[in-house]
Structure formats: structure tokens, C-alpha cells
Amino acid sequence: MKTLNIIETAYRATLEEQDDPVLWIMHALKGAGAEQGVVLRANAVNYTVKAQGVPPLAIGARRQQQGPRLAEAVSGLIGKGVEVYAVSDDLTERGLQSEELIDGIKMVRKADLPALCGGYDQVWHW
């Protein structure tokens, strides 16, 4: 079974979790043998931006050692053979240019999403 995972909710508890839990489970499912594609849409398109970084979070004396590395998490999926798309309309709305993005991201227009969904057995919206 092939699933297409549309990730829309972004930066949700990423500091507490030290990752994005949806990207995390994409990695875990890939490890379990899942055939899957990923579409990043809305604010989640920002996960493809290379230059993002998180300074260490300190609450009182508790300093975080492992901040989230979201662009690397997306690159890691691509490296494992997962097709990762970004909705080009959403990138444009946010003023993001292709040269700012990590390598290997495929573009899809909103208008072409139905056809993309048709290539998968199930579509999961996160």
C-alpha cells in the first residue's frame, strides 16, 4: 500500500519534541517498510528552507542540547527514497525562492494535487 502524507501543521511542539512528530513518524514508518510520499503544504513548506536553525533553549538552568533540525529531517526522508513535494503556491505566498530550499524537493501546484493523490492508495492528512 502506498500512502501520500500531506503535512500541513508545522512547528508544533518541535522544541519540546526536538523534531516534528509527523516527520519523525514518516522516518519510523519508512523503517517499518512503508511506501509513502510526502507533501508539505501551508506553513510546513518552511521545513524545506536550508537556513533555518534553532538556538539552544534555556528554561532556568535547564539547557537543551538537541534542538530540532527540520530541514535535515526532510533531507533524511529524501535520502531514504521518499518522494517529498512542496506546494509551490504556498512557497510563493511566503516569498520563498527555490535556491533557499534543500536539494531534492519536488514542486507541486495546488491545482495538481488531485492528480498526485490519485497515484496513491490512501491519503493521510496531518
Partner: protein
Amino acid sequence: MKDKKTLTFMLMDAPFENARTTTAMRLIDIAARRGYDINVFAYEGAVYLPFAAQKQHANAVHGHDVVQEDHPLPREWVEAVVQEAAKNGGRVDWVNCGLCVDERGAVDTVAGVRRGSPADFWKMATSSDNTLVIATK
């Protein structure tokens, strides 16, 4: 302290669900560093923030063992702001909504947390310079 303030925070979100929790704790941390007196009323899922049974874990996806992952735990953040405020001459009065605790079984908390009711929140708000509600959306 001449400019010492008393601030009340009303939190609603459960830990590990969204960025509002981190933002709330960062704001409380700033107030603690300034030595302010801080009231926190944890309502609904926020009563799990100081839940004592939270545990760190390894993370195979990250390739980290439990020590390397060093997963942040909100109960540690609660303890940290209590200590930070005390160090700077302030204090944190953290009240967990009792009914919310009962609904969730979130009884065991770190030290410095007490059980209360909305009446406590009202007292906190009326005795504070300002109150910030960070509600679930």
C-alpha cells in the same frame, strides 16, 4: 526590588502538543530571571506540565541513546522556573486545577505545585499587575 511585578499566567495546553507551551515557559522564565512573583494556573491539559512521571527516552530515528537525546521534560522546566525565581528573589506559585487533575489522573507532580480551583485563579489575577491567558486553540 523597586520594579518588582506580580504576573499571573493561565495555561491550558497539554505538554508535547504545540509551540504555545514552549512560549509560555519562555515567558515565565523571563519573569523568573527578573525576580518577579509569578502565579501559574494550569487548567485542562496543562496540569500535565508538572506531571512527575514524565520520562526521557532514547530516539532511534535521531540515532541517540537516552543520554544523547537529553529529551526536555516540562516537569523539569517547571522545577527550573521555580528555582530560577527563588534564586532571583521571586517565587512561583503553581496551581493545578483540581478537577482537571482528577479527570486525567495527573495527581503526582514535582515539588512546588499545589492543587486549587478557579477561585485561586481569580485571586491570582486580582492581586497581579497583569494576567496573560494562553489558551488552547
